[in-house]
Symmetry: C2
Subunit: 117 residues, 2 copies
DNA sequence: TGAACATATGAAGGAGTATTCATATGTCAA
DNA sequence: TTGACATATGAATACTCCTTCATATGTTCA
C-alpha cells in the first residue's frame, strides 16, 4: 500500500469528504466548464471579449482593436464559437461577431471586480 | 507594406475601433484577469473550487475529494493562493483552505449556468 | 529527542496551446 | 468571369502547463 493510497483512504473528516464528493458536478460538465474558462484565460481573447461587450464587430476591426493578425483572431473566434462564448452573423463576405449571451459579460465583469479589489 | 499592416490600417469602422480601443482595460489588468481565469481552466482545480464552496477543507481531504495526490493539490493550491482564489489558515500541521471571497463562487456559478443552458 | 505525519516545493517529462505562414473558400465589383 | 478581398483553416514551431517523483519543512506525539 503506497502513501498515495493511504492519503486517499485515511481522510481527516470522512463525512465532509463524502458529502462534498456527492455534491460535485458531473465530470463532463466540469470539463466543459474548464474549457469555457480556458477561453477567457488569454489576454488576447479577453481583449476580444471586452471589445465585443461594446457591440458587434467584424473580424478585421476586431483584429485592429486587439492588435493581432486577422488569422490569429479568426482562430480564436472559432474556439470562442465552439464554446459558445460568441456567435456571429454573415453579411456578404463580412462576419460580425458578438457575445453569445449575458453570462459572458457577467463573467468578465465579476472577474474584473475580483482582480481590482 | 504587408497585408497585416493593411489590415490594421484599413479598418471597416474606424470610429467603432477607436471607441472600443479607448475603453479597453489596461494591459496589466487583463493579464491578471487572464491568469485568474486560467486558474479556473482545469477540471481538477474546478473540483477543488466546487469542494471549497461548501466550506473549508484540509489539503488531505481536498485531495481525497478530487482524487489526486496531496502533492498535486498542494501545487494547485499555491497557484490558487497566488491569484487570490483561495486563502487558508494553519492549525498545527494542518492547513485549512477556503475560497477567498464571494466572487469566486459567483464565477463558478455563472460559468455553470452558461454551460448548462 | 526522534519517528510519523501534513503540507510544500523543485525538477522534469509529456501534453496541450498560441501564433505564424501558407493556402482555401466564398463574395463582391468591374 | 476574373481579380481583389474578408474570413477560415491546416500545419508547424515555440511556449506553457499539469502531474509525478523525490525531497524539504515544520508539527505532533511517544
Amino acid at each position: 500500500m503506497t502513501k498515495v493510497e493511504l492519503c486517499e483512504v485515511e481522510v481527516v473528516d470522512r463525512e465532509a469528504v463524502e458529502r462534498v464528493q456527492a455534491s460535485q458536478a458531473p465530470e463532463e460538465e466540469l470539463d466543459h466548464l474548464a474549457a469555457t474558462f480556458q477561453m477567457l484565460a488569454s489576454p488576447t481573447r479577453l481583449r476580444m471579449v471586452e471589445a465585443l461587450a461594446g457591440g458587434e464587430l467584424c473580424v478585421c476591426d476586431l483584429a485592429a482593436v486587439v492588435g493581432v493578425s486577422a488569422s490569429a483572431v479568426s482562430h480564436h473566434l472559432r474556439q470562442l464559437r465552439q464554446m459558445r462564448i460568441v456567435r456571429f452573423r454573415k453579411a456578404g463576405r463580412m462576419a460580425y461577431y458578438r457575445l453569445d449571451d449575458e453570462h459572458i459579460s457577467e463573467l468578465f465583469g465579476t472577474g474584473l471586480e475580483h482582480v481590482r479589489e
